[in-house]
């Protein structure tokens, strides 16, 4: 039966509700725990993340896909605590970010090893927690390296076996991503191309092409506008709203996902952001409808995209 795996167990796709599809509760490249420069007071981070999720829920959000992969901050027990006490469904991935962020142990492993590992987590649960991931996350660096390609192939093979969607951090090479996943026989309607609204990655022509091939376009950096902080993906939200409008006008409202790619806490980077001065998923729900309304997209459509589309792509068949 169609279902979605959350950290608290499987739920019916209709239970998802408004879902931010590309977020991070915590995220950081592996290894920060060895670096005392970046250690933090754990209870405070817990309090901050919990408050962020509670606020998200109060503003209408019901589910969050945390795209932090293996070794990149995904922390099942932590997320279960957050989910239990905030009431937000949290969906975690198996998989990694780009090859540049793979934990050393997995360097040099074969495609089969990786895909078996992904399937293992998707069927038996993560580690000893018994919690099953809801999708597979892979990515590319600035370009598609051979390592990134391997990751994508492993993801496609695992996704086919387990019936889950693949999220690719790969807008910059979207067509290549689709080509690789397609060549592994993956159904492209289970593929989400993330970060299509990052500064430097906005390309409406590509988006329409990707959508017409059946894959999902994810505009997932709303609220990330501070170019002094993250220059390579900050961008004015107005430009992103514009892209959304173009897609809707081209008839691709049903191939589009919206999100904000915020970390509630950053592990091992972004020194000044952890406790102050950064947007959250709640800010995304607060500010984005206005940005869209200004160019003629009603709030109703915003919530519809947030509710209906994730339900389709996330359901594990």
């Amino acid at each position: 039966m169609a279902h979605v795996n959350t950290v608290m167990g499987a739920i019916h796709p209709d239970e998802l509700g408004p879902t931010a599809t590309h977020e991070h509760i915590v995220w950081g490249p592996p290894g920060w725990e060895h670096d005392p420069e970046w250690w933090f007071h754990y209870p405070q981070v817990f309090a901050k993340c919990l408050a962020g999720l509670v606020e998200y829920r109060e503003l209408g959000g019901r589910s969050i896909m945390c795209c932090s992969g293996i070794g990149l901050g995904r922390d099942v027990e932590f997320y279960r605590m957050l989910s239990k006490y905030s009431g937000v469904n949290i969906i975690v991935p198996t998989g990694f970010w780009a090859a540049a962020g793979i934990p050393n142990h997995f360097l040099g492993k074969s495609i089969d090893y990786l895909s078996d590992m992904f399937v293992g987590e998707l069927t038996d649960g993560i580690g000893n927690t018994g919690v099953r991931p809801g999708f597979i996350k892979v990515g590319i660096g600035r370009t598609m390296t051979p390592g990134d390609e391997m990751l994508h192939r492993a993801a496609a093979r695992a996704a086919k076996r387990a019936g889950v969607p693949v999220v690719s951090h790969g807008a910059w090479e979207a067509l290549k991503v689709l080509e690789i996943l397609g060549s592994e026989g993956m159904d492209l309607s289970r593929v989400i191309i993330s970060h299509c609204s990052h500064g430097g990655a906005i390309d409406p022509v590509r988006d329409r092409k990707v959508a017409s091939m059946g894959a999902w376009i994810s505009y997932d950096s709303f609220t990330v506008t501070n170019t002094s902080a993250v220059t390579h993906y900050a961008h004015p939200d107005e430009k992103r709203a514009e892209a959304v409008k173009q897609m809707i006008d081209a008839g691709f409202m049903h191939r589009m996902l919206l999100s904000s790619d915020n970390n509630l806490f950053s592990l091992g980077w972004m020194r000044s952001s952890p406790y102050v001065g950064k947007a959250t998923q709640a800010d995304f729900l607060r500010s984005t409808p206005g940005k869209l309304r200004r160019i003629g997209i009603s709030e109703e459509i915003f919530w519809k995209i947030l509710t209906e589309n994730p339900k389709q792509v996330m359901a594990i068949q």
């Binding site: 167990g9 209870p43 027990e77 605590m81 000893n128 018994g130």
Partner: protein, 319 residues
């Protein structure tokens, strides 16, 4: 090989260090989760637990046995995270405290059902996880042992025998009845810790239990400082009890703990005992009562190391 099941996996007995044998993080009677007034401000509770465990650790404590058991506030995710971010070895327990703390669902269970449940949690994992409980913790309420509690005790004994886990009991007023059950079920008493021995002071009883090979735990250390509970006796008395036990050669049978409850869910106000106080205030109190350094060390380190780990004999049965 003897080992302690902590929430992060196995631990060698030699790594246990100083142990608090009976503490609680979240603690509420069955059904607390349906009472909004009992809901904890979980971020605060986490911070408080974190601080108390680090306090304990800085004073030299290394292992913390969480005795809440099933349904009474044992929150696995919370405990796993807590042990991972403090570096204190936290042990979860399986079992039910008493009639009042046993959720209605389990009231139809018999002794063997309980044994199966406890064994599963000790050998396979708690709930849907493969994270194992480390000890069995059961008890009875005031006023004797009810039928359900008897079944729980019997189930606990059978699980202890099947797995080699230690058994901690709470409900010292039924000590004789408990001994009878253990003898009927053929449980070796050296794997049993009688908790709450400082609720009803009775040195003769403690010596008798120790003489049978069981351990006695004085596990309400520091209660007097804030509580008006009838059994909140001064630490000085408790220290004298320990001194007398040691003097009569029963030092090998004594264990200590603070019985702290970081969050006392819906049970009328805060519980102010603190596991750190065990080492900060009570150990000096013991010294004042004339207990030798080595004896204190044996009580805090040696006895738990001997009793608490999972142990099987070479034939695979409980040691």
């Amino acid at each position: 090989m003897p080992h302690l099941n902590t929430l992060l996996g196995t631990l060698h007995p030699e790594e246990m260090g100083m142990v608090a044998v009976r503490e609680h993080i979240l603690w509420g009677s069955s059904g607390w989760e349906f009472d909004p007034r009992a809901w904890p401000r979980i971020a605060k509770v986490f911070e408080k637990s974190f601080n108390e465990l680090l306090d304990f650790k800085l004073l030299g404590g290394q292992t913390f046995v969480e005795c809440s058991g099933i349904g009474a506030g044992r929150d696995l995710d919370f405990l796993v995270k807590l042990t991972a971010v403090t570096g204190v070895h936290v042990v979860a327990s399986t079992g039910f405290w008493s009639d009042a703390h046993t959720p209605a669902h389990f009231r139809r269970y018999g002794a063997d059902d309980f044994a199966r449940l406890f064994t599963h949690e000790l050998t396979v994992g708690i709930g849907h996880t493969r994270i194992k409980a480390g000890v069995i913790s059961v008890g009875n309420g005031a006023g004797g042992m009810s039928e359900l509690e008897t079944a729980i005790y019997r189930g606990a004994v059978r699980a202890a025998k099947a797995t080699g886990a230690a058994l901690i009991t709470h409900g010292i007023d039924t000590a004789r009845r408990q001994i009878k059950i253990f003898q009927e079920e053929l449980l070796a008493l050296p794997r049993v810790v009688f908790g709450d021995c400082d609720r009803i002071i009775d040195l003769e009883r403690d010596r008798w239990l120790a003489g049978l090979g069981a351990c006695v735990a004085y596990d309400n250390v520091g209660l007097e400082a804030w509580s008006d509970l009838p059994y909140a006796m001064p630490d000085q008395w408790r220290a004298e009890l320990v001194a007398q036990m040691v003097a009569s050669g029963h030092g090998e049978s004594v264990m200590l703990s603070a019985g702290s409850k970081v969050a006392n869910l819906g049970r009328g106000g805060a519980h102010l005992s603190n596991v750190g106080n065990l080492l900060r205030y009570f150990v000096p109190e013991l010294e004042k009562a004339g207990v030798a350094q080595e004896a204190i060390r044996a009580i805090l380190v040696g006895n738990p190391k001997r009793v608490l780990p999972i142990q099987r004999d070479s034939a695979g049965g409980a040691a």
